[in-house]
Amino acid sequence: MAGTQDEAVIDCRNLWKIFGRRADEAMKAVQEQGLGKLEVRDQFDCVVGVQDATFTVGRGEIFCIMGLSGSGKSTLIRHVNRLIEPTSGQLFIEGQDVNRLNARDLREVRAEKIGMVFQNMALMPHRTVLDNVSFSQEVRGHDAKERRENAMRAIDAVDLNGWDQKYPDELSGGMQQRVGLARAIAADPSILLMDEPFSALDPLIRRQLQDKFMSLSAEMKKTTLFITHDLDEAIRIGDRIAIMKDGALVQVGTPEDIVTNPVDEYVADFVAGISKLELVSAGKIMEPLAAYEKRAGPVDHEKWPEAHPEHSLDDLVNLSIATQHPVMVKVDGKPIGVVTKNALLRGIQGDLDDPASVKH
């Protein structure tokens, strides 16, 4: 949850995007009569790409937008650097309204403040790795020596040293996407836009690149908007996650929030298959000490294993595997709750309604 309270680096307010020739009419009708996606399609022959999206991303935060294909997530991310113009609504980058910039300032913001990684790499096949990585600095007219140094540093950061004079088609898919990542970070922008960067890669390589990205990200602390259709990836990477459906943000919250309190059936379906081991904390599944003692009588917890409320289920499993006793959850040495084996098993299943109701 790093930095959510800090200033918003990306601030998106009531953003709408409607595609089609009669988009403006459709937008008006939506605002005045509250038409839905299907009505807009039937009456105006327009497609709603993004519906009333509002969110902020704090400095250094990784904000994942998760949705299936066609949910509008790629459309939404392209509003941040204005590759797509919104039909209505505003988007601020570090307090600057992106849609009010003139062409020159917009190019400057794109080159200096924002780095973008694309699902299909979109590397320039006629340029070497080095020339691809230094592209944004080249179009800004930076000094050749300086941009070479920056580019080499970025290439180094993604473990591609020695490949700088190769061409993209001489590299494997995973390496190409690392070039894409190097290109995005070369100009040291404050914002990273990641448009399904790892979706086109096979699972093992994807995992490696996720790890690489997370370690880089921990080091660089860049504000990141990360698009994915893979909830596992969103949970692994995101500080916060937004679930997107039909162009609208259905739920925004921390991974734990999303997994433990899905707002509707749609989100619940998504999170059903997600492993709770790393996500759910002891605090969520513990039974308050008073309630436990009321039920089971006063207990002698001398030999019980101890845990913090933030400990994950995974930690609890490790603690309780060596003993028959329940786990005592303590804050500052003071016992506050109990996690029984049954509650732990239910927690792993994802059944968290009420710890006290767990059958013993």
């Binding site: 590759l83 794109r110 694309f118 979109a122 320039m124 179009v139």
Partner: protein, 312 residues
Amino acid sequence: MSDAQGFNILDPFSSIDLGLADSADGVKQWAIANRGIIQPIKKFFNEMIVGIDTALNAVPPLIMLLLLVLVAWQAAGRRVAILVAIAMTVLGFLAPNAWGLAMTTLAIVVSSVILCFFIGLPLGVLAGKNDRFEAVIRPVLDTMQTIPAFVYLVPVVMLIGIGNVSGVIVTIIFALPPLIRLTSLGIRGVNASVVEAAKAFGASPRQILFKVELPLATPTILAGVNQTIMLSLSMVVIASMISVKGLGNEVLRAMGRLDAGKALIGGLGIVILAIVLDRITQGMGQSGRERGHRHWWQGGPIGLVLRVVGKN
């Protein structure tokens, strides 16, 4: 219209005469009346063509042959260089004056292609970027490619007079369209996501054109140049009707005297020139991947020289 038949509703076309041919003939009058304006422009282009012609003919044939072989080697590799060497030797032995005539023809072709390039590339880029312009220019290109050359031969001669410049102009009319079409095709064929990436990293429209679109469209554009060269060569006989010298003129004169042997020699000369130019320009059109990602100076004779120099 003066026919006594009168108006026939079933055949309206033969009974109404709008006099289009007569008014179109006015173009000729206009052309004659405005010759004065054209003369300085004509002089400039004529000097350019004559300059190229003199230069090509001033080089001793053997040196020229060597140069062509080196160019072929550089542009298209060793195999094409050998082919060019053989083809040009055969051309030289076709007739004692064949080499000189071929150089004159080459001068006309080179002038036409240079002018085609400067006209065609911007128009092609515009057509590739702008759908409306493409829609407008397409029928014009269709006309240029299909209208019989004899139709515009007369107005051009009326306006400019016979000689090299007219020859180059009629050649351009016929040879320009494929370059425009293929440039447009090449620009349209550039991967949209690469252009989007360039935009996302702050490139201006101009930078996108020169750093992304034109380099990526180069193989297609060079295919257009190749077609333009081929079509220019196919125009040399027609151009010789308006007093353009060279191999085409040889064919034309031989036909007039029913001298099949001489016509064959001239014809073969044109074919050999076509093959040589085609192979060289096709070699240039290979994409970076086909060349194994070497820069053009890393291969061929220049690469050899550089390697030798580099070792010492």
